[in-house]
Symmetry: C2
Amino acid sequence: MNEERRNRSPLAEKTPFPDGLDARLRSQFTFLVEVDQLKTVLRQSPLVAADRRENDAEHSWHVAMMVVVLAEHSDEPIDVGHTIQLLLLHDLVEIYAGDTPLYDGAAGVGQQEREAVAADELFTLLPPDQAQRLRALWDEFEERRTPEARFAKAMDRLQPLLLNWMARGGTWRTPGVTADDVRARKAVIGDASSALWEAGRRLIDEGEARGWSRSAPPRA
Amino acid sequence: MNEERRNRSPLAEKTPFPDGLDARLRSQFTFLVEVDQLKTVLRQSPLVAADRRENDAEHSWHVAMMVVVLAEHSDEPIDVGHTIQLLLLHDLVEIYAGDTPLYDGAAGVGQQEREAVAADELFTLLPPDQAQRLRALWDEFEERRTPEARFAKAMDRLQPLLLNWMARGGTWRTPGVTADDVRARKAVIGDASSALWEAGRRLIDEGEARGWSRSAPPRA
């Protein structure tokens, strides 16, 4: 990891904390200032409430809020608090690695490696025990082997679907993307909740019928 | 409540959900679209990572993230997941009631009543059982009678303190506000964590020493 790590100064060095602050708290505050940058990572999704794109911090709050309201639809029992923690930190690596648009195949190349390097760099700001714990939470989200991780992933995919519906297309209108592409990328919702995937599919189908996404070209 | 309720159309009516969506899910989606507006409520605090003010959704994410990292400093045992849920929704009422700056005494008049009316209106969008549950969480945060609510409040006060430190003053420079006013408004941090209040006080004291906040005028 050390070789790949970029030599970036933590944001907190702009205004160093005063002497005499406990070393553990200093690390924790340094990390918490560093993640302020999540508010500046722009996503593709348009807000409903304003004419601008969403940022990662807003998205992370919104998907966490969705767990509070939608957890009952999980097909397997989930720990709500744990699921929310996965979502609060699922996009932190984008502070260094940038957002990768869902429908951009080229941008997706090397994404996993870039994000793993970013995770090493970011979590190292924390005291070692917490660096390990947060890294484990991020790995859990990425690997989707627990019911909580699957439900968290479903929220991550359902939230922009709601925003796109409200925008009457949104990123569904990305050049070259078809309604079948959207269905394919959103199908993981069904790994967590058949009810939510049924509802999501209904929005995608109805959007396609209204011309808010492209129907697949006829086969040759 | 009914008399006071304003006749506001839910944001989701901009693009009504399709027929055949389950009624309970329709209510939940309507609520989740409505709260998109939290991303448009501006606070006084300046971001560290960009030259603009923070919005409520970004703030709500940041304080929730702080619980994940700082929970160990609570003087009483707390349920981390529950504390986070309190914070995810603690500012939702500001969608209708607006943000009330901490150091603005005039804006604070009637704040409690305005926010209670807003809570009635907002949570009513949910299915009744969930409206009741989320209202209870919001009341719990406001009343500060549980260790979780006290720790959540501490995060709500500590987060802008970190942002103000990083900005070398920020809202500490609000006209008429003194370092003693800051100490008075932040002292609730000590109800949850003596370690975090010691650290917070150190930042305030050092900020005052550096002229980032006004020292109290000499007494007559």
